[in-house]
Structures are given as C-alpha cells and as structure tokens.
Symmetry: C2
Subunit: 680 residues, 2 copies
Amino acid sequence: MFALELVFAISIISLGFAGYLAWFVLKQETGTPKMRTISDAIKEGAEAFLKRQYVTISALAIVLAAVIFIGYSALGDPQRAWYTSVSFIFGAFCSALAGIIGMFISVRTNIRTAAASTKSAANALKIALRGGAVSGLTIVAMSLLGVSIIFYALGANPTETPFMMVGFGFGASFVALFAQLGGGIYTKAADVGADLVGKVEAGIPEDDPRNPAVIADLVGDNVGDCAGRGADLFESTAAENIGAMILGVALYPVFGISGILFPLVARAFGLIASIIGIMAVRAKEDEDPMNALNRGYFVTSILAAIFFYVATMWMLGNVWFFYAGLTGIILSIAFVYITQYYTESRYRPVKEIAEASKTGPATNILSGFSVGLECTGLPIIAISIALILAYKFGEWSGVAYGGLYGTAIATMGMLATAAYILAMDTFGPIADNAGGIIEMSGAPAAVRKKTDRLDAVGNTTKALTKGYAIGSAALAAFLLFSAYMGDVAKLTGKPFGAVDIAKVDVFIGAMLGAMLIFVFSAFAIRAVSKTAQYVITEVRRQFKIPGIMEGRVKPDYAKCVDITTTGALKNMVLPGLLAVGFPVLVGVLLKAEAMAAFLMVGTIAGVLLATLMNNGGGAWDNAKKYIESGMYGGKGSEAHKAAVVGDTVGDPFKDTAGPSLHVLIKLLSTITLVLAPLFI
Amino acid sequence: MFALELVFAISIISLGFAGYLAWFVLKQETGTPKMRTISDAIKEGAEAFLKRQYVTISALAIVLAAVIFIGYSALGDPQRAWYTSVSFIFGAFCSALAGIIGMFISVRTNIRTAAASTKSAANALKIALRGGAVSGLTIVAMSLLGVSIIFYALGANPTETPFMMVGFGFGASFVALFAQLGGGIYTKAADVGADLVGKVEAGIPEDDPRNPAVIADLVGDNVGDCAGRGADLFESTAAENIGAMILGVALYPVFGISGILFPLVARAFGLIASIIGIMAVRAKEDEDPMNALNRGYFVTSILAAIFFYVATMWMLGNVWFFYAGLTGIILSIAFVYITQYYTESRYRPVKEIAEASKTGPATNILSGFSVGLECTGLPIIAISIALILAYKFGEWSGVAYGGLYGTAIATMGMLATAAYILAMDTFGPIADNAGGIIEMSGAPAAVRKKTDRLDAVGNTTKALTKGYAIGSAALAAFLLFSAYMGDVAKLTGKPFGAVDIAKVDVFIGAMLGAMLIFVFSAFAIRAVSKTAQYVITEVRRQFKIPGIMEGRVKPDYAKCVDITTTGALKNMVLPGLLAVGFPVLVGVLLKAEAMAAFLMVGTIAGVLLATLMNNGGGAWDNAKKYIESGMYGGKGSEAHKAAVVGDTVGDPFKDTAGPSLHVLIKLLSTITLVLAPLFI
C-alpha cells in the first residue's frame, strides 16, 4: 500500500516541519523582564487549567470507555468491544495531545510576538503566524497519523477496518466537546467578569494591570480559542476521514483500496499546500496584515486544487471527482467571504448595528440579533448548491454510489486547507495575548498601535475559522449520516431504506434533535453567566482592597485564574452530559430510523444556530470597534456604551455556545455511529 | 347529513350569542367625556389602520388568486382553477371579516371596561372578557361556517370536496400572515418608539398624554394582539378542519361520511363548551382575576372532554379516538402550565432574569435569551408524548390509518377550547387599553390599581394564547403533512412513499425550510426597527415644540398614528413576500419530496424559534414588572433600567416575529397543499 506509506511519510514530515517552526519561534527574543513576568503568569494559568481540565476529561473518558466495552461485551460482540473502546481511548489521547502541543507553543509565542512588535510589525506577524502554524500542522498531521496507525494495525481487512475505527472519531469528539465547552466557558466568564467590573463599573481600560481578572482573561484566549478550536478541528478532520473511508468501502468494487485511502492522501497533500502557504506569508512593514494572510490563503487554495487534481487522477482516475473536490475548495472560499461580509465593519450589517447603537442598548441588541438571524441565509444556500453540484458531479462520474462519494470528496476539498486555516485561527489568540502583554507592560503607544492592528486581524481570522468550521461540519454531516446508515444496514443485514420523517416516531426524533441544540445552547450560555458571577464577585472584592485601584498594590491574579478554572470545569459538566446522554436516550427509545432524523435535523438546527451565534457575536464585537474608531461619538459616548452591551452579549454566543455547537454536531454523528447496535 | 345541519345550527347559534354579548357590552356606560375623547382616538386610529391594511392585503390577494387561476388553467385543470381561486378569495374574505368584527367590538369594549373599573373590578373583568368573547366566538364560528358552506356547495362528491377547499385555508393563512405581520410591526414599532423617547429619553411615565405616540401605542394593542391573533387562530381552526377532513376521506371506507364531518362536529361542540365557560366566569371583588379566568377555562376543558366523548361515540363509535382527543385537551392544559412556568414571576426563570439585571443590561439579555432557548425543551417533549400517545391510541382502535387519524383527533381535542382561549386573549388588549384610557384621563390612583391588575392578567393570558397557538400549530402540522402527501399521491396516481431526508435534494429542502424561518424572523424584527425609527424621529420632533412637554399644548397623536400605519404597511411587504415566494421557488426547483421536508423541518424550526421568542419575550416583560414591584431597588434603579432593555428587546420577539411564525408555519402547509401540482 504505497498510498498509506506516502500518508505516513507526509504526516511525519509535517510534524517535523511543525517542530522546525516551534524551534524558529522559541529562538526569538523574549522582551523585557516585565513582559516576561506577565507572559509567565499567562503560561502558568493556561497550563494549570489544561492540566485540571484533562484530568476531568480523562476521568469521564475512562468511564465512557468502560461503558462502551461492557455494553458491547453484553451485546455479545467482544471484537467490537475491544476495538471500539481502545480506539476511543486512542482518539481521546491524540486529540488531547494535539491540544496540549498547540497550547505549549502558543503561550510561548505570545511574548515573542510582543517583543518583535517593539521593532517590526511584519516580523511580529511572521512569528505569530508560525506559532499558530505549529498548532495547525500538528493537529492535522496527528489526526492523519492516528487514523493511519489504526488502519495499519487492523489492516488485515481493509473493508471492515473503517467501521472498527469509528471509536477513534468518537474519542476525538468527546474530548473536543469538553475542551471547547470548558475552554469556551473559561474564556468568556473571565472576559465578561473582567469587563463588567473593570471597564463598566470601575471605568479602567481593557487589559489594565490593576484588574485582577486580566490574566485570567488572557489565559482564556488560549484555552478557548486555541486549545478549544484545535480540538474542534482535530475532530472534524478525523471524523471526516473516517466517514469518507467508510464510504470508500462501499465503493471497494470500483476503486479497490484506493477509494478507501483517497481521503488520507487528499488530506496529506493539503498539508503540503498549507506548509507552502504558511511559508509564503511575508508582510510589508506598512501593509494591512490581513492582505498578507489572504495571499497565503490563496496560495494554499490554488496549490490544494492542483494537488487535488493530481491525487484524484492518480488514485480514482476520474476527473468528475476532481470537480467535486474543487466545489469544496470553492465553498470554503465562499464561506470566508460571507463571514467577512457579516462581521466586518466595511459592510452593511455591522454598520447597521453601530447605527442602531445610537438609540441605546435595546436597538443595538435587536439589530445584532436580526443580523444573526439573517446571516444564516447565504451559508445555507451556498452549502445547498455545493451539495447538489458535488452530488451531480459524482453521479456524472458514472460510478455506482458516485453521487454520495462526490459529496464526500467535496468535504475533503473543503478540509484540504484546514491546516492553514487553523494556523490563522491560532494566530488570533497569540496576537490578542501579545497586545495584552504590551498594554500591561506599559509599552509606548506606537508599539500598541502595531499590536492593535494584529489583534484586529486576529478577530477577523477567528471569525473566519468559525465560519469554515461550521461549513465543513455541515458538509461532513451528510457524509456521516450515510456512514451511520451503512453501519445500521450492516448490523441488521438488510438495507436501511429511508429516513422517512413522515412517520410519527421519526418526526419526533427530528423535533427532539433540533430541541437538543436549543437546550444545549441555553445550558452553555448559562454556564458562562454562572462562572462569570464568581469572577465578578472576586474582582469586586479585590477592588475594595486599599491600594489596588491606585496601582500601588499588585492584585491577586492567581486567585481569579483559580476561581475561573474551578468554575468552568464545574459548569461544563451539565451541558456535556446532556450532549452525550440525551442522544443515547432518544436512540434507545425511538430506535435507528428516528435516530437518523434526530441526527440530521439536529445538524441542521445546529448549523443555523451556530451561524447565528458566531456571526452575530462577531458583528456585535466589530460594531463596538467601529464606534471606537470614532463613529457616533467614539469611545465613551452613549452609542459606545450601547455597543459594549451588544459585545458582551455576543461574547458567549461566538466563543462558547457557537463553537460548542460545531463539536456537538459532530459528536452526534460519531455517537450514533459508535452506539448504533443499541438502536436496533 | 344531520351532522352538517347540526354544525350549521351551532355556528349560527354561536354567532347569535356573540351578537348578544356585543349588545351586552355596548349597552354599558361609556364613562367621562375625557375618556370618550381618548377612546375615540384609539377607535379612529385602529379603524383607519385596518382599512388601509385590508386594502393592501386585498390587492395582494386578488393578484395571487389570479395567479392561482391562471396557473391551474395552464396546467389543464380548470375545475381546480375555479374551485381553488374562488375558495381562496372566500377564505381571505372570512378571515378579514372575522378580524374586522373582533376589532369593532374590542375598540368599543376598552372604554366600557375603563368606565366599569371606576366602580367595580369584578364588573370590569366581566365586560372585558365578554368583549373578548365576541372575537373568540365569531372567529371560530365563522371558520366553521365557511368550511361547512363550501362543503355544502360542493357537496356532490364528499370525498373530493376537502381537496378542493384547501384554497379556503390558503386564503385564510394568506390574510392571517399579513394581518399578523402588519399588526405586529405596528404595535411594536409604536410601543418601542413611544417608550424609547418617552420613558427612556424624556423620563415621562407610560401612557402619559404628553407623549405623541401614546395613542398609536394603544391602537397597536388592538391591531396586533386582537386583529392579528384573531386571524392567526381563524386560520388554525380552518386549516385544521380541512386537514382532518382530508384524512377523513382516507377513512371513508371505515366511517363513511361521519369520518369527514367529525372534525366539524367536534369543533361545534367545543363552541358550546366555550360559551358555557365564558358565562361561568364571575370574579369576586377582591379576588385575583386570573383565578376567575382559570375557573372558566377548567369548566370549558371539562365540558369539552365530555362533549368530545359524546361526539366520538356517536359518530365514530370507538372509544380509542376519545382517548386521542383527551390527549389533545390535556396537552393544551400542559402548554398553559409550561408557559406560565417560563413567563410568570413566581417561578425560577423570570426571577433569574430579574436577578441578572443587577449586573446590567448585558447579563439581563444573556439570561433572558438562555431562558428562551431552554424553554423550548418541555413543550417539544410534551408534543412528542402527545403525538406518540395519540398515534398509539389510534392504532389500538383497530382501524386502518387509525394512527394518523388519532393524531388528527388529538389536534381537534386541543382546538376544542379555542373559542375560550381566544376570548382570554382578546381580553388582553382590552384590559391594556382600559388601563391606558384610565391613565390618560387622570383617574384616581385606586382605579388605576384595578386596571393595572387586569392589565397584568392580560399579559399572562396573551402569553398563554401564544403557547397554545404554537402547540396547536405543531400538532396540526403533522396532520397537514399527511394531507399534502395525500394530495401529491392523488395527483401523481401513485403512493407518496417516504420523505427520505437521507436523499441529498430532500436534505437540502429540509435545510432551506429551517433557514426560511430564521431569515423571515430577521426581516420581521428589522421591519419593527425600521418603523420604530420613523416613530422615534416624529416623537422627538414633537417634543421640541414648545408647550408639549409642559402639557399646555396637545400633541399631534394622529400624525404618529398615520406614520406608524404607513410604515407598518410598507415594511410588512418584504417578509410577507419572502414567506410566500421562497417556498414556491424551492418547490418548483426541488419538487414534491424535498418540499415535504422543507415543510416539516421548517415547521420544527418555526415551533422552536417561536417558542423561544414568545416565552423569552414574556419572561423579559415580567422580569421588568417583577423589579417594578420593588425587587432589586424597584423602579428607577439600575436593575430596572437593565430590565427595560430586556423588555424592549423582547417586544418584537413576542409580539411580531414569534406570532408571525405561527402563521408562517401554517401558511407553509396550506401553500404546499394548494400548489402541489406545481411540484410534480
């Protein structure tokens, strides 16, 4: 299997290259002692959180693995019991490891970016992006390597193996859910807490060193945006690989082993495209950093398309599948533009929110919420067109099941640039942290201006990644549905037939799936509110200590970090258990066909609500920034106060509930795949 | 057909009884000349709006009728062309007439309620409820009469007729959509405009006569809550009658004509139960008025259950169908309790929002929004259980298609108490108006206290009706799906098979259906914002006129009424056209099966989003009232200011977008039924 060896080789090379980038970043200067003190505090806080978080997640994962093992053994399927529970643990481990490595580098890149920005903005951009790329490359390569190792280990029966390794995907999504939930709750509780007491009540600026929650806030950027999103996309790539490979099994008579291994090869080629794209980013000193990042993205996209053509012709020998893949690549570009339209202040939606702020917080909220509702339209239409096209291209290939395989290949196309997108995403918290370090260390205004610009670009890239993540989740979902139906068909020994939502139990399954999305979001938002309350109480307590507000006494940052950690870990459990437990309950009660509808309509509701929350939140954030740039009275005006309210509301939308919904959608897919035998 | 004659008789008797109630109300005292001046202004404004609104709607309806006629003629089906377009116009006419009659009485009941409250709170309650009952009885009786007349006119072929009269339902829902949208935009634009400039900027109390928008605000209560909701429930009962009759056709071999006429008989019996319930309401002078209304509701429910038993045993001769109907009656009671839990200040959710207001508007909004998301859970579970039970009861009846007929009968059970619920609903705007008239006419504080209590009860009953409307829409939807599928099967001459959302085009239909719900809501909310801007500008202009703020110069109320009218009518067109046009486009492009998924998943998304908006809005409103009752600093405190923001956000949620979604769901059902031939 030359293809598999090639995938191994490219994964190892990519990990090596990530190592080189890490070395490159770590050899950079670390700035003044004052900057190092701040950076060390962030590092400690982030690492302490991650440690405690993974202890909690490990405990939950081990319990679940045991349940899976016992369950399958009781069902008289010891082989599935072993394979599923071991690959579950392995998937969980790889996902956690990818998160830890990414975080290790990003909390070390922030200070180096800050130090570089005292001299050159272009250099700071380069360091931040390369630090982010360590995450991006590691995550994609690890996911590829994990799947390949399982495939290699179980290789005796390549048509059985993909079914056996769904446990890997489930393990990955299980960790991803808690990583994203815990990280998302942490980051927004700290942010809301710091802002409400610091900015609103006490009237001190953001990232002011007198605010005891300021370090917790900076820690939050890492654990939420970096570790959380990393786990999210690790899971995306893993689940999508597995889904596509299962479909490849159905096509075994047509393509042989190539059809099964193609997704891995396509992803591996995408890694190379991303590496070249990352190295191609070179900003000029006075250029908008976003332009430099966009150039890199286009290099990656074009290379990905070319490589995709090569891979398709080599392994599948059918140009129609290349068109399907190209559809996915173009869809990802469309998502990037749509997200920009709804979240950047150059366009109508954000301007509308800013203008509505003039009449106070209520109209700001209404305007932002209607932008959130509206912005679900274009992405859904884009996905619909892409699905139809990919399906038609697949059908025109003349291959049996070609339509479905076409949609699978579109997903691969969309995820081909994943490593680059992830690098841009992790760039966000690094730039944000660098700005915080500069602000807290009292650097001159000119330097701050440089990091502010990087920070603003980081906000955009974070929004783009979320759009991309939800788009690929939607596309991959369709693939995973069919994998689930194939699994059930295999277990029952007869074709699945249809998912007929005109049947009463199937319709109920559909309703309950959509409902889970709403109730889960409620729990996620409430978890942020609860945790923020702890932070608010603590910051208020410390502000009363004489000397802190005057800057003479150093606040107890560690206390805030600790309180946020404990709160976030405690409050992530309820939504997490709901997400895992409710589908199982519905599946056991209503059985396989209703469960399929649960999954599909839950996915639709999840895509819509996540898009609403991600883009609505992003638009509120940038409407505030737009006013801060001097519109409608600028900072301190009534319009600004109203916009701050919108921004605060948008925070848990875009950084907790929205991203957690991405993971939830995929968790639903993997959970149904793993537990399918229970639903028969 | 004795049953049909009985339905005729009961409908006529109910209309006669509504006439008696109208006479009873109109003979009451009309208070002081000052009160009459205010009431006359409201009356004029409401009637002017209704007149202009129905001119616009008529124009749109005539165009659509012509399109339907030409379309079916072109398809070579002249019979369907005639029947559908004529019954469409007839349905639109009946719906409009029901709205006009209801409004005629309610704008005359408000002043009589106000006058009565100067003497006796118990008497005021009685007058307001009886005024509301004129609407309730007229709407249900008209819908019954309309369907019966068509059935009688086309009677030659009872198994064909129900298919022919789907036009009636479509006409009703078409008018209902625009009535609810236009009225909803009007009422909230006036409310938000009056509050933002009056209460927030100028700091004068609600309903203060110096506020130029105050009459527009009072007019809004009538055109939104009264005319809008009336059209909504007219449509519910009509569509549900037709859906159930179509199903009765499938059961013709089992029950004969009885199966087709049963829904009409069940509804007619429900009318009698409601009349007795309304007459049973007698409050004691110092009792909570809600208790008196609840007593009447229980009388109605118990009578409805008994009558249902009689009707079932007489016409269907199978006790299992009675159990199915009872399931519907119990579901409606469950909805009343669930809605109360989420929107009354006695319970955890509203208290939570009030408490979150202490830390400002942002936490108030987050808390309210998470309550809105969470409150979708119990209703969906309740509907699921009711659907399963009704289906099982139907199956156990031993009749072919019994399961589906069981769900139809559950819907009839739920709608049996519709007239009473509608009377309680219209009670709301009457009590609200009476309070406004008392406030503006400067009556003593003791009288105000009485009307305030009635007003608070009115808020609760309005929330209950919305819960009830969405619950019955969800239940009826399942029935209408099967009617649509039966229609398509009849047209193509082969069984529909399944709505298989695992097919790519069907899945896309499902996604687009859910998306329409989100985008439509965005447009509805934006329409309120836009119209409110006109009002805000006008009120600010008038406040600058010397003498107005000092109370020496009377503001130009008529100008505000006129501006709101023009704005609401202009801004209802875009969401309205989207709601009608998009389903047609999708159906034509993706065909019948995808359209079924569009309808079903759109309904699910609509139920969820409407529940979120209705209950979230109600909870925000009552959290504000809870604080005004003295909690967390009471009126004027920071917590109160934050709660006012939440209330303002909740207004277009609960009174524009939410209720419009009810109608949209049903419009989707009737539009697919009418246009089914285009989708083949």
